[in-house]
Symmetry: C2
Subunit: 381 residues, 2 copies
């Protein structure tokens, strides 16, 4: 695939962790990387100026939402997603599948694709593997995701297998469609296409799905349908079952994860990319991640606390604002509270990934893995 390359730069001797460089049409990303989520065309409450200040290198945008509003044709007429959003870095787009499958009662799946009704106006849409890619291509995504069938947890093995087979059939159609997409002919940066490993909570299905996707040959592989309610040891087991079948020279993306203490755990299992709405969603709800554990800013004990959220954090918020001020904003319902909290949480996630990369490069990752998880999980005292 043109304009796309992945290179492993360091490997950890004791785990599957590695650092890498992901080259995309809009720049190179150091991995492991955390991708903030740009649901409706903004990382909730944060101007792009602040995203740049955070050192964000790659964003995830939701195809489903952008397809419904403002629509990919409007975005095309405005010069594509990067220009529309004024973001010149890499963008990964999901296929829309996950959002559509969340519309239970509003959607119907067949082998051809998924018919759904918009959550906005009830209008009918039909998403096929080809159409999902076409939309992402029109948006001008750097990394396209195939349409997959997501299932609920728990689900029977028969249900999981049926969805896995459909996901595999759609992956095959996607690869064919991808190779025929018109943008290849125009000499434009084409970005890349990632497949998605499904298989529910069954390790053997996960391995089988990975094997068959690898046979097809994709530039990158995602693990989908995890962190949907199952206990974390099972998530890790399922991830390992897929990962051991994936080629080492391709990037791996753990979709929709996770909590801070989980990030190095996924990295230790060979994951290079992650995304999650937790830093911004929890930030808006007043839950802060710090190096000493969780901090619920609403608590009365912070009402006159002059300290920063995290004394060892160097983010814009911790350098300037006190817990007392942030609590005041939160309990007063001021949106600035959610903005500053989201900024800090995103910084914490990005900083965690920076530290992970540094520790892998320095050969200290195993030590980091055990120290970090034990320090960030509890409540701030």
């Amino acid at each position: 695939m043109q304009n796309f390359r992945f290179q492993v730069t360091h490997t950890d001797p004791k785990t599957k962790a590695r650092t890498g460089l992901l080259e995309t049409p809009h720049g190179t990303v150091e991995t492991p990387v955390f991708m903030p989520v740009w649901t409706l065309g903004s990382v909730k409450g944060l101007p792009q100026e602040l995203l740049e200040q955070l050192g964000i290198t790659i964003l995830l945008a939701n195809t489903y939402h952008l397809h419904l509003r403002p629509g990919e044709e409007t975005i095309r007429s405005l010069g594509g997603l990067h220009r529309f959003m004024s973001w010149n870095g890499p963008i990964l787009t999901d296929s829309g599948g996950f959002q559509v499958f969340s519309l239970s009662g509003l959607r119907k799946v067949t082998d051809e694709g998924v018919e759904f009704r918009s959550h906005l106006d009830g209008s009918k849409h039909f998403l096929t593997p080809e159409r999902a890619l076409e939309i992402q291509s029109i948006l001008g995504s750097d990394i396209h995701m195939v349409l997959d069938e997501c299932i609920e947890y728990p689900a029977s093995q028969a249900t999981a297998e049926k969805a896995m087979n459909r996901t595999l059939a759609w992956a095959e159609k996607s690869l064919r469609a991808w190779n025929g997409l018109p943008h290849f002919e125009e000499g434009k940066p084409a970005g890349s296409l990632f497949a998605i490993v499904q298989g529910g909570s069954y390790a053997d299905l996960r391995s089988q799905c990975a094997d068959r996707l690898v046979e097809m040959g994709f530039p990158g592989y995602a693990i989908g349908g995890l962190a949907v309610g199952e206990a974390r040891p099972l998530s890790y087991e399922l991830m390992e079952a897929a990962e051991q079948r994936l080629p080492e020279d391709k990037p791996r993306y753990a979709m929709g994860v996770g909590l801070p203490e989980e990030l190095p755990q996924f990295v230790a299992r060979g994951m290079d990319m992650m995304d999650c709405v937790l830093p911004t969603r929890n930030g808006r709800n007043g839950m802060l991640f710090t190096s000493k554990g969780r901090l619920h800013i609403r608590q009365a004990r912070f009402a006159a606390d002059p300290r920063p959220l995290d004394e060892s954090c160097s983010c814009m918020v911790c350098r300037r604002y006190s817990r007392a001020y942030l609590r005041h904003l939160f309990v007063s319902g001021e949106i600035l509270g959610g903005i500053l909290n989201s900024f800090h949480n995103l910084f914490f996630y990005l900083d965690t990934m920076r530290r992970i990369r540094q520790n892998i490069a320095a050969g200290d990752f195993s030590q980091f893995l055990s120290d970090f998880s034990s320090s960030v999980q509890g409540e701030v005292l």
Copy 2:
């Protein structure tokens, strides 16, 4: 008064407009100046970093809100309002009177002061002229406002006169209290105290009120109770009736005004300071002020418009984002829309004041006055 000085630097030959320098304990402010409103401890949605980027020099904070939450004693324990909010520039605090008088049914006025119930929890509070100043002093305000009695519009002359007399009696008490405030003894920056001209919609009362306040001798004078529903020509007439009695060497503050086209009109009538929630409130509601008139970003005609809000604006938003993107954020209910809109509107207000100051200094203010008003009032075509 220590740490407070006002100096007129240029006067317009044809109007009462003038430029000046207002020295406060936290820095010098070029006038005429627009003061954004920091209601609950934030300019809605804008981190202090963006306020600095806007070039804001002085903020208005609401004593009523801060008294109720987090309370002035908490703010004192955290080092005062400047430190609490991490804002090192000048702060003007209102007396709380205007908010209290908005609590119709929840307050009772006597000659001693005003008893009111919190809009938050119904708890009972009593605000006297002395207490209003004490709270502002504890907050560490640069410019304190006296407690005044605000009335509704329309009101009879008898009602207006009674409220004016009470306002005058309170001003006298305030001046006495001010001179005895403990911070004078501690050698701390004491800031300044402004009186407020009331008198309802009666020009003779306005003149009379101004005369008596000037006899008492304050470092600055505000005109209150305007823009409360009366037609603008009447506002201007009432302002003139007060202004002509005010000393030229003291700053004048038109409270709670106004629309962009009104700003130079107030300046032409000798006003040096103004504040208003319109730029942020209208921004959140999708109404943008531009050099070509109002722009309602919700309108469908902006859905694919690649132009900035205002092609002649150099603000962060106009340099980077399209109308199409801002409309998308707004119709999607993304808070980033309100943030970027508020930023632009505040920039427009501040830029208007910059241009006013430049035009006064250059002797071109009269021309500016007529050109500006006609260009900014309509709808953007």
